[in-house]
C-alpha cells in the first residue's frame, strides 16, 4: 500500500454510465494483485471528503485503470475530469483473489455490473483459462466481455431483460454449468451483494470452493476506522472483519449472510 498523486491519462465512457479511467502510477502498478482496489480521493469534491474505493481493472506498464459506474456525487465529478488532471490514490489495498496454481483448479468467474473489473487481472494471471459468467439488467450493463475473450476465456452472458445472452440471472447459466461438472472447479465472484449471496449458496449446494469480493461502504480503506465490516464465522460464533483489510475477497463458507442486504 502506497499513497501517490496519480495523473489521468484517459477517462472515457465505455457504455451508458460506465467509464474507463487510466491512471499513470508507476510505483503502484507493479504491486497490484487480482481483486485488490484503489482508494481514490477526488479533490474537486470539496464538501464530500471521503475517498472512493474502486477495483483495479487492468495493469499495463506503469499505469493501472479502473472501470467505474457513475452513480453519485463522486463518480459524477470523476466523469467530468480530463487527462492531465490528478487524483490521489492509496493502492493497492485489500486481500485479493487467490490465483490458482498451474495445473490447479479451473476458475469459473461470476460478475455483475462493474464486478467485471475486479476479475480481469485474475483471468489474465490464471494459468488455466476458464469461463466468465456475466450478468446485468440490460445489454449496456455487460462490460468488457471482449477483454476476457481476447484472453481466450469463454464468456457466458445473462441479462434480466434478455437483450443480450440468456434471459434471467447470471446464476442460471452458472447452475447449469455446475450441474454439468464441479470437479476441479473454483468459483470467483464480484458484484452486488444479492448476487454474491446466490453464488455463495450455489457453492455450498455444489460443494465447490468460492471466493467472493464483497462490496461494503468504506471510509478509511486501510483498516483503521472499522466502518466496512462484515460478519465472518469464528470459533462457534462470528466476528466482524474488515472488508478493506481482511477482504474484500472472502471465502464464501466463512461469510455469515445474516445482516447483509
Amino acid at each position: 500500500m502506497i499513497e501517490r498523486t496519480v495523473q489521468i491519462l484517459a477517462n472515457e465512457r465505455v457504455a451508458d454510465q460506465y467509464f474507463r479511467l487510466v491512471l499513470r502510477a508507476p510505483e503502484i502498478a507493479p504491486l497490484v494483485q487480482p481483486g485488490q482496489f484503489a482508494h481514490v480521493r477526488i479533490l474537486r469534491l470539496k464538501e464530500a471528503l471521503l475517498r472512493r474505493p474502486f477495483s483495479i481493472f487492468q495493469v499495463e506498464g506503469d499505469t493501472f485503470s479502473i472501470l467505474y459506474k457513475q452513480v453519485g456525487k463522486g463518480t459524477e465529478v470523476l466523469a467530468q475530469m480530463a487527462p492531465g488532471e490528478t487524483l490521489s490514490a492509496i493502492a493497492p489495498l485489500g486481500k485479493g483473489f487467490a490465483v490458482p496454481p498451474p495445473g490447479g483448479e479451473t476458475p469459473l468467474l461470476v460478475a455483475g455490473g462493474y464486478g467485471m473489473a475486479a476479475m480481469y487481472l485474475l483471468a489474465k494471471r490464471s494459468p488455466q483459462k476458464g469461463i466468465v459468467f456475466v450478468g446485468g439488467r440490460r445489454q449496456v450493463d455487460i462490460l468488457c466481455a471482449d477483454d476476457f475473450r481476447e484472453l481466450g476465456w469463454e464468456v457466458r452472458i445473462a441479462t434480466e431483460d434478455g437483450s443480450l445472452g440468456s434471459k434471467g440471472l447470471v446464476t442460471q447459466p452458472l447452475r447449469a454449468e455446475l450441474e454439468r461438472t464441479t470437479a476441479g472447479r473454483r468459483l470467483y465472484a464480484c458484484g452486488p451483494t444479492p448476487m454474491l449471496r446466490a453464488v455463495g449458496l450455489l457453492a455450498e449446494e455444489f460443494r465447490v470452493p468460492a471466493e467472493l469480493s464483497m462490496d461494503e461502504h468504506m471510509c478509511c480503506g486501510v483498516g483503521v476506522c472499522l466502518a466496512c465490516v462484515i460478519r465472518v464465522k469464528s470459533g462457534d460464533g462470528w466476528e466482524y472483519q474488515r472488508t478493506c483489510t481482511e477482504g474484500p475477497v472472502f471465502d464464501a463458507r466463512q461469510i455469515v449472510w445474516e445482516g447483509q442486504p
Binding site: M1, I2, E3, E47, L49, L50, E216, L226, V229
Partner: protein, 304 residues
C-alpha cells in the same frame, strides 16, 4: 525552534497527535507513514472485554464531514496488549490509550490494568459512551458521574490521565473544572457531536444505529469554541480536536487555548494530514518569528 509540549508527565516531541478511533492501533498506517514523527499515537477506545460493535452501515458521509456509529468495536484489554502493544511499545513516540467502561468500576479496572503495563504514555478517558448502570445517561454529560470516573481512575493509576469531554453540554467549563479537580492531568476537547442522517427515498436512517457522531471540518467552529471555553476554566493542558485538516486549523486550536492537537477524520481522506499540519506549523512559527510552540497556546487577542 521548540515544538515539544507536555500533558502532565507525558512528553511529546511535537504537539500533533491523532484522534482516537481514526488511527486504529497505529500499525495499520505503518506502511504509509513514519509514525515516529508524530507527537504521540492515540489508539481506538478499549474497554475491559472485547466488543463487537454495531451493525453496518456504521458510517455515512455528510456535508463537509461524516457520521459514525462504530460502537467501540475492540479487542479488550488483553487482546490489545497481546495483538497491538508489542508494536506500539517499539515506537519511539508515546502511545495514548483511549479507554472506556460501562461503570465507574470498569473504568478504574481498565486504568489499573494499564498501570501495570510498562511504557504506556497516557490514558485518555472517553466519557461519551452510554452508561449502562445509570440507565442511559452519559458519563460525559453528568458532571458528578464525570467526577467519579476521573477520581476512580486517578486512584487506579499514576499514568497521565486525559479526560475527553463531550461537546454535548451547555457549559463545558464546569465539566473541565470537575475533571481537573478530580485529578485529570489534561483534557481532550472534543469528541464527536451527536447527529443523524436519513435517506429521504427509503425513509430509513443511514446508520444502522440510527444516530451517530458528527466529525470533520463541519464541526471545527463548535470544537474551537469548546476548547476556548475549557481553556479559560482550567490550568491543565488541552488537546484540541474537531475537524482539523490543515496547519491553519491546528493553529486556531492552539490560539484558542490548546497545548496539543489531534487529527481525526482527516486521516481517513488524507493520511499525511498530521505531517502536513506539523510542517505548516513550523513554517508559520518561522514566519511569525516564534521560537516556542507554547507561545501560541491561548494567545487569542480578544477585545478591540
Amino acid at each position: 525552534m521548540n515544538l515539544s509540549v507536555q500533558l502532565g508527565s507525558l512528553q511529546m516531541q511535537n504537539p500533533v497527535t491523532v484522534a482516537s478511533g481514526t488511527f486504529g492501533y497505529g500499525v495499520e498506517y505503518a506502511q504509509l507513514l513514519d509514525l515516529n514523527r508524530l507527537g504521540a499515537v492515540t489508539v481506538k477506545g478499549i474497554r475491559l472485554n472485547p466488543v463487537r460493535g454495531n451493525p453496518t452501515p456504521r458510517t455515512v458521509e455528510v456535508t463537509s464531514g461524516m457520521l459514525n456509529a462504530i460502537g467501540l468495536q475492540g479487542p479488550g484489554v488483553d487482546g490489545f496488549i497481546e495483538k497491538y502493544w508489542p508494536f506500539l511499545r517499539s515506537l519511539n513516540v508515546p502511545t495514548i490509550i483511549n479507554i472506556w467502561g460501562t461503570s465507574v468500576e470498569e473504568y478504574a479496572e481498565v486504568a489499573r490494568r494499564f498501570d501495570a503495563v510498562e511504557g504506556v504514555g497516557a490514558l485518555e478517558l472517553n466519557v461519551s459512551c452510554p452508561n449502562i448502570k445509570e440507565g442511559g445517561a452519559q458519563f460525559g454529560t453528568d458532571v458528578n458521574l464525570l467526577r467519579q470516573v476521573v477520581s476512580a481512575c486517578r486512584q487506579a493509576t499514576r499514568l497521565p490521565l486525559i479526560t475527553k469531554l463531550s461537546p454535548n453540554v451547555p457549559n463545558i467549563a464546569s465539566f473541565a473544572r470537575a475533571a481537573a479537580e478530580a485529578g485529570s492531568d489534561a483534557l481532550s476537547v472534543t469528541n464527536s457531536v451527536p447527529a443523524m442522517a436519513i435517506d429521504s427515498e427509503t425513509r430509513r436512517p443511514r446508520l444502522a444505529n440510527v444516530t451517530g457522531g458528527l466529525t470533520g471540518p463541519c464541526i471545527k467552529p463548535i470544537a474551537l469554541k469548546l476548547v476556548w471555553e475549557a481553556a479559560r476554566a482550567v490550568r491543565i493542558p488541552i488537546v484540541g480536536m474537531g475537524g482539523i485538516q490543515t496547519a491553519t486549523d491546528a493553529i486556531e486550536f492552539l490560539v484558542a487555548g490548546a497545548t496539543a492537537v489531534a487529527v481525526g477524520t482527516a486521516n481517513f481522506y488524507e493520511p499525511q494530514t498530521a505531517f502536513q499540519v506539523l510542517a505548516g506549523l513550523q513554517e508559520y512559527m518561522e514566519r511569525h518569528r516564534m521560537t516556542d510552540v507554547r507561545e501560541l497556546t491561548g494567545s487569542l487577542r480578544a477585545g478591540p
